[in-house]
Point group: C2
Chain length 253, copies 2
C-alpha cells in the first residue's frame, strides 16, 4: 500500500507556482517585504496574470501573503493566536479587554439567530456591536444578540441607540450567572459591513464563531463573531497551559 506520491497527473501550473513562491517566501523574503507586482511576477514565471493570481489567492488564504489594492502584495507575519473561550463561564466583556464597543441597537435578528435564541421570529432583540482588536489591528467583528427577556430591567427605549445602550446591555448581562456556553466555528465570507470594519474586501474568508450563552436552562444570548481568517488562529485553551506559539506550514509541508 502506501500510495504516497505517484502523481500520475500533470500538476496544474498555479499549484506548481504556489509551491515555488511558497519556497521563495521561506528562503528569500522577510516578513513585511513587498513582492513585485502581479504583472511582473506573471511575466517572470511565464504565465498569464490570472494564473499567477490563482496561486497568490491561495497563499493569501493560507495567511502567507497579504494583498492590498493600490498598495501591493506583502509577506504576511505568522497568524496571531486569538483566544476564544479560554475561560469558560464568563460573560463577554467581563474584564475582557480587546473588545471595543461600537454600537447598541434594537433589531429583529436574522432567522438563523432567532432559531438559536428561543425567540419568536419577528421579535426585536438588543444587538450589541463590538470590534475586537489585537496587536493593533481589527481581527473580529461581533454581533451580540440579547433578547429583552434576558435583561428585563432595561426599558424599551432606555438609551438612544448607541454605545451607551450597548454598555447598559452588557452591564445587565454581567448580573446574570452564566451556566454554560456552546460554541461552533465555521467558514464564511465577510458581509460587506463586517468587511469594512475588518479592513478587508467583502467576500473575504472569515471564521464565524457562534456562541450560545446559557442561563437558567435557557439561551440568554447569542454571539456571532466574524474573525479574519487570514490573520487569525483561534485558540481554545482547555487547560491552563502556556499560550500557543507561532505555527505555520499547514500545507505544502
Amino acid at each position: 500500500m502506501g500510495t504516497t506520491q505517484l502523481e500520475t497527473v500533470p500538476e496544474p501550473k498555479y499549484r506548481h507556482l504556489k509551491t515555488v513562491i511558497s519556497e521563495a517566501l521561506d528562503s528569500e523574503f522577510a516578513v513585511g517585504e513587498i513582492l513585485p507586482n502581479e504583472r511582473d511576477l506573471a511575466a517572470r514565471f511565464g504565465v498569464a496574470r490570472a494564473t499567477l493570481r490563482q496561486a497568490l489567492e491561495q497563499l493569501e488564504l493560507e495567511g502567507r501573503l497579504q494583498r492590498r489594492r493600490g498598495v501591493g502584495t506583502t509577506v504576511a507575519p505568522p497568524r496571531m493566536g486569538v483566544s476564544v473561550g479560554s475561560a469558560a463561564h464568563r460573560w463577554p466583556g467581563a474584564a475582557d479587554a480587546a473588545w471595543e464597543l461600537a454600537d447598541g441597537v434594537r433589531e429583529v435578528p436574522p432567522a438563523s439567530v432567532a432559531r438559536l435564541l428561543d425567540a419568536a421570529q419577528d421579535e426585536p432583540v438588543h444587538v450589541v456591536r463590538r470590534l475586537r482588536v489585537s496587536e493593533g489591528q481589527p481581527v473580529a467583528a461581533e454581533l451580540l444578540y440579547v433578547p429583552a427577556a434576558s435583561v428585563p430591567r432595561l426599558a424599551a427605549a432606555d438609551a438612544p441607540s448607541g454605545i451607551a445602550r450597548a454598555q447598559a446591555v452588557l452591564r445587565e448581562l454581567q448580573g446574570l450567572s452564566l451556566e454554560g456556553e456552546d460554541r461552533a466555528v465555521e467558514l464564511g465570507s465577510a458581509r460587506s459591513d463586517d468587511a469594512k470594519q475588518l479592513d478587508r474586501l467583502p467576500g473575504a474568508p472569515v471564521l464565524i464563531v457562534t456562541t450560545r450563552y446559557f442561563v437558567a436552562g435557557r439561551t440568554a444570548a447569542v454571539s456571532v463573531a466574524t474573525y479574519r481568517a487570514d490573520t487569525c488562529r483561534l485558540t481554545f485553551g482547555d487547560s491552563g497551559a502556556v499560550e500557543v506559539l507561532h505555527s505555520q506550514e499547514h500545507s505544502t509541508v
Copy 2:
C-alpha cells in the same frame, strides 16, 4: 455616526450574481438538486463564465453549493456539526467511534509539529493516520504525532508499518493519564494527500484543528486534523447542552 449602508460604489457583478443565486437557492431549489451547467448559467445572466464562476466559488466556500468535475453543481445540504473536543481530557480514539484508522508509520514530523512537541528537529515519531467519517462521508483527515518517549513500551520496529502499528500506538496512549488539551483552529488549504482522502481537489479550503495533549507537564502528542470547510461546522460543547441544530445564513443576511 452610523455609516450604515451608503454604498456609493457600484457593486461588482459577481457579488450581485452571488446574491441573486443565493436567493434563488433559498426559494427555488431543493437540497441535492442539480443546477444548470456553468456555460448555460453564465449565458442566462449575461456574464462571462469566469465571472459566474467567481460567484459560484464563494457560494461553495459558504457551503451553499457543491461542485464536482464531470458531474455538475448541486445544492449543498446544511453543514453538519462535528464535535471537536466535546469531552475534554480524553484520549483520541477512546470509545470515539467515527474515527477510522488508516495507517501507522514512523516519520520525522514537519518542523511546525516538532516545535509543538518538545522534540528535536530530526527525530522520527510515531504517526497515526486516521479518517473521520460522519453521515456517510469523510469529513476530516488526521495525523497524530506521538514521540517515542510518550509510548516507551513500544519497541522501535514493533509492527510493520500499518494499521496494526497505529492500533498499538493508540493502545499505549490510552494507558496514560491525560492532564489537558490545547486546541487551535485556522484556515488552510488541503494538501494533495488530504484532498484525496476527503474527496476534494487539492487546495480546497479546510479547517485545521491542531491539538496538543498534555501528560505530566509535557506535550505527549500532537494531532493535526484537517476538516472539510465546505461541509463541516466544528462544535465545541462546553456545557452538557443539546447538540447544536442546523444554522445557515452566515452571510448575505
